[in-house]
Amino acid sequence: MTTTAVSQRTPEAPRRPPSPQLVQIRDLVYQVAGIFQPDNKLRHLEDRCQKRMQALGVATLREYYDCLTVRPIRQAELVSLLNEITIGETFFFRNQPQLDALRNVVLTRIVEARKKMSLRHLRIWSAGCSTGEEPYTLSIMLMEELARRLQGWTFEIVATDLNEHSVAHAKAGVYGNYSTRNLTPQITQKYFSPVGENLQVNTQVKTHVSITRVNFLDDARMVFLKGFDVIMCCNVLIYFDVQSKRRVIQHFYNNLLAHGYLFLGHSESLYGVNDDFRLVHLPSATAYVKSEERLVTR
């Protein structure tokens, strides 16, 4: 018999296939919440499940799947698991591919489409802004662009969150090491001031950002939020049931200008939730567009 031995082995941890129960939980989370964990993140999902299993005193993934599907606690447990999955996801310049796509493709398209118009004002809604890292990141990025793509433009960022504590934190604009770990020394020096061991966002960054408390299910509030070019809504809709999600997405659709963009969180999808928005692929990011025709009017 002719055999050939592996000539070069790489030192790496032994791999193992994902358990079918874990894949089942992954698919359930995607179906119900719209957030997907690819195969390379299944270890992370398993860790999160194990943590919840410990809290519930559950021994197997099969049993935990039952907790998420048939037991009376299923809705609350799904929220707990989602909290675990998305925990610690708020920090400055969190999703760089998404920010690059917004800056390099979306801004370029908006500026190009409005070339012949006098109104050169950009309006972005950070919907579910948590403690403010996202809207301030956007503000910093757009301030940098004022000397480039956005020459002669103005911009504003409307930031909203349901949680009053988060809104208060966002308004204060003071952040610790975890939130600021992605900041370059240049950005830190230009846009932040030290406050003890923390960093505070400078006033010039804050002036572009208005922060208020808004409940997405408050229709009366939602209808008055109008005229946005871009809505960023990351890891918020995953907590809504399908009916509420549809209602909120319909609001977003109406809140956007024609051809406006809706960005969701990493690996978040609207599949099966809304047919009006169109999925578009940007470099290493996806977004939903209100329509595909050229931007014409505000």
Binding site: M1, T2, A5, D39, N40, P283
Partner: protein, 299 residues
């Protein structure tokens, strides 16, 4: 570019003098594996692959990758063929053989990037084919693997001219074929068609190599060309492209390949593009890891 210079480039590509040849073991192996599965002799397949030690070692590395469905290690070709099956081994042997076509030593552009893209595209083509009910996922894999054979030809035969095209594409964030058309007067589809015909590849693979950036121009096998066209674009938009970001916005439902493929695969109408895109994330890590490993072995 003048017609005369373009003609000279075409002639050099047609001569293919600097182009490496396909490993000798590949042709008999492929021919043997074309036969019905029930008459294939396992030992003969093992012997064929094992003739080329470098190829065999690469095949083993690939066979041990989760990308090909293996989680428990195999340490010889015989066990790999038993564990993975004849068809999967064919995919692996062809993939390793294509790697050997890449130019050695100093090149104008890092060939690993192109091989990562080709292997990534092959895997995406097969997965995409399976998901939408395309009749021949194995063929889709092969087509994805070989779709950019024209790039390999340009890297080998006209490296300096190709470098200019590549630099333009990268600096402006535009598709490579557009930059090639501007600077070379021809694209890797043109050169791919020349190579594919020269190597007597099957008609469908010639069509894919020659038309994947404009599936409507394919005279035959438009569904396969369209499938590769969409998979190629998805790879390029998802960070498995040519090592730079194409600064554009793509709606797959409006791509020319979409309507063509829809005729053959109605499941495409309700296809979850978002989920498929997220799934690619796992491919990327594995593809980077595997290609670097294989490239080291082949040196």
């Amino acid at each position: 570019m003048s017609d005369e210079r373009q003609q000279r480039l075409r002639q050099r590509l047609e001569a293919l003098e600097e182009m490496p040849t396909i490993p000798v073991v590949l042709v008999p192996l492929l021919r043997y594996l074309e036969q019905p599965l029930d008459i294939l002799d396992l030992q003969q397949v093992v012997d064929l692959i094992s003739q080329d030690k470098s190829l065999a070692a690469q095949c083993l590395h690939m066979a041990n990758s989760p990308l090909y469905g293996r989680w428990t290690p195999v340490d010889n070709i015989r066990n790999a063929v038993i564990a993975l099956g004849m068809q999967r081994m064919r995919d692996i042997a062809v993939s390793c053989s294509v790697l050997t076509l890449m130019p050695r030593g100093r090149t104008s552009v890092d060939p690993i990037v192109f091989w990562e893209h080709s292997l990534g595209c092959a895997l995406v083509c097969r997965q995409f084919a399976q998901k939408i009910g395309f009749p021949d996922p194995a063929k889709a894999y092969l087509a994805g693997l070989l779709h950019d054979i024209g790039v390999v030809a340009e890297l080998c035969v006209v490296p300096q001219e190709f470098r200019v095209a590549f630099d333009l594409a990268r600096s402006q964030g535009i598709p490579l074929h557009e930059a090639e058309a501007t600077t070379l007067g021809l694209t890797h589809c043109d050169s791919g068609k020349i190579v594919a015909e020269k190597w007597h590849l099957t008609d469908d693979l010639v069509a894919v190599a020659g038309c994947h950036h404009d599936p409507h121009t394919a005279q035959m096998h438009r569904d396969l060309v369209a499938l590769v066209s969409l998979s190629d674009l998805l790879c390029r938009m998802s960070g498995l492209g040519y090592g730079y970001a194409e600064e554009c916005q793509v709606n797959f439902a409006e791509e020319p390949g979409f309507a063509l493929l829809l005729e053959e695969c109605p499941a495409l109408r309700t296809f979850d593009w978002a989920r498929f895109t997220f799934e690619l994330e796992a491919y990327m890590e594995e593809v980077h890891h595997l290609v670097r490993l294989l490239y080291r072995v082949s040196q």
